[in-house]
């Protein structure tokens, strides 16, 4: 079966996001003074083949842990759908 996945990688809570902070400053300079925080992250879109949804999910979990995210600093979530 073919699947499409979206993996979202973001910094863990409490890890300083200096890109986010800089973007926040940019938004404020444009006049959006009500914005309180900006957190950045990465979106990875994968197409993959697996026997079933469960196998695809366990593969994604492993890929995210081993490469897509750095567990020291980042956390991840993913959504998976049949292609």
């Amino acid at each position: 079966m073919k699947f499409r996945a979206k993996v979202e990688v973001t910094l863990k809570e409490g890890v300083l996001d200096s890109q986010g902070r800089t973007i926040l400053g940019g938004l404020r300079s444009l006049g959006y003074g009500d914005v309180e925080e900006v957190r950045t992250g990465k979106l990875l879109q994968l197409s993959l083949t697996a026997e079933d949804q469960a196998q695809a999910a366990s593969q994604l979990e492993e890929m995210a842990r081993r490469l897509l995210a750095n567990p020291v600093l980042e956390k991840f979530t993913f959504v998976l759908e049949q292609a």
């Binding site: 890890v15 300083l16 200096s18 890109q19 902070r21 800089t22 990465k42 490469l67 897509l68 750095n70 020291v72 600093l73």
Partner: protein, 231 residues
């Protein structure tokens, strides 16, 4: 002692390492290709600075998967020395050969300037010949050198003497204003539990000739060269 300098696509401090080791130190250095899991008899592996794989995904993340790094892993497991400078430090963290990770600089800027360093552990193959209480002056040039480790990991590291360098003022104080990138506790370099793998953000290979401002990097290379024979 033979140095092996590993080249990745995007390494850009490898020539500086060759210059420092061969021309200044008179040591033997050979290039190692990241695609080959063969260290060609190198006694010490150098992972130079640069932007391996364009820093894609995360700095050092792709280089950590190279076949050459498998050989480095075995080399390190045998207790032999590995030094990662700047991007090399990032690669060692991504490869799990050193604890922690390097975040984007706290100020959001790429920092390219001289810093002062204090040696926190003299009992490593890289620091044994640094004069006691000497404040080293070395350059940094990085956008992601903001060291982080979980509090529990950091405590273990301290207990084992794995903090090797801290950013300090010219007077030797690890003050906040001496920290160029927001690194936890001003950490500039760390080593493995056994002490044979070192990662550092500052560039010792750029500080080997007084003409160019500082020769404090020589202490590190001398420690490696002269330290190996008595082991």
């Amino acid at each position: 002692m033979k140095f092996g300098i590993m080249l990745f696509p995007g390494s850009n401090c490898d020539r500086d390492c060759f210059h420092a080791l061969e021309e200044v130190m008179g040591a033997r250095a050979i290039p190692l290709w990241h695609g080959e899991a063969d260290l060609k008899g190198a006694d010490c592996v150098v992972l130079p600075g640069g932007f391996s794989y364009g820093d894609y995904l995360r700095a050092g993340a792709m280089a950590a998967l190279a076949p050459g790094m498998e050989a480095v892993r075995e080399h390190a497991a045998g207790g032999r020395p590995v030094i990662g400078i700047c991007n090399g430090f990032q690669i060692l963290c991504e490869a799990g050969l050193l604890p922690g990770a390097l975040r984007r600089n706290a100020g959001g800027r790429f920092r390219c300037e001289d810093v002062h360093l204090r040696v926190e552990n003299y009992d490593t193959p890289f620091t044994r010949l640094v004069p006691r209480d000497k404040v080293l002056r070395l350059p940094i040039a990085h956008g992601e050198g903001n060291y982080y480790a979980d509090p529990a990991v950091l405590n273990e590291m301290k207990a084992r003497g794995q903090i090797v360098f801290r950013y300090v003022t010219a007077g030797g104080e690890p003050a906040p204003e001496a920290n160029p990138n927001g690194s936890l506790e001003n950490i500039a370099g760390v080593c493995s539990p056994a002490g044979n793998v070192l990662g550092m953000m500052p560039h010792p290979e750029r500080s080997v000739e007084a003409l160019l401002g500082s020769e404090d990097g020589l202490f590190i290379f001398r420690s490696l060269l002269e330290g190996v024979d008595d082991r």
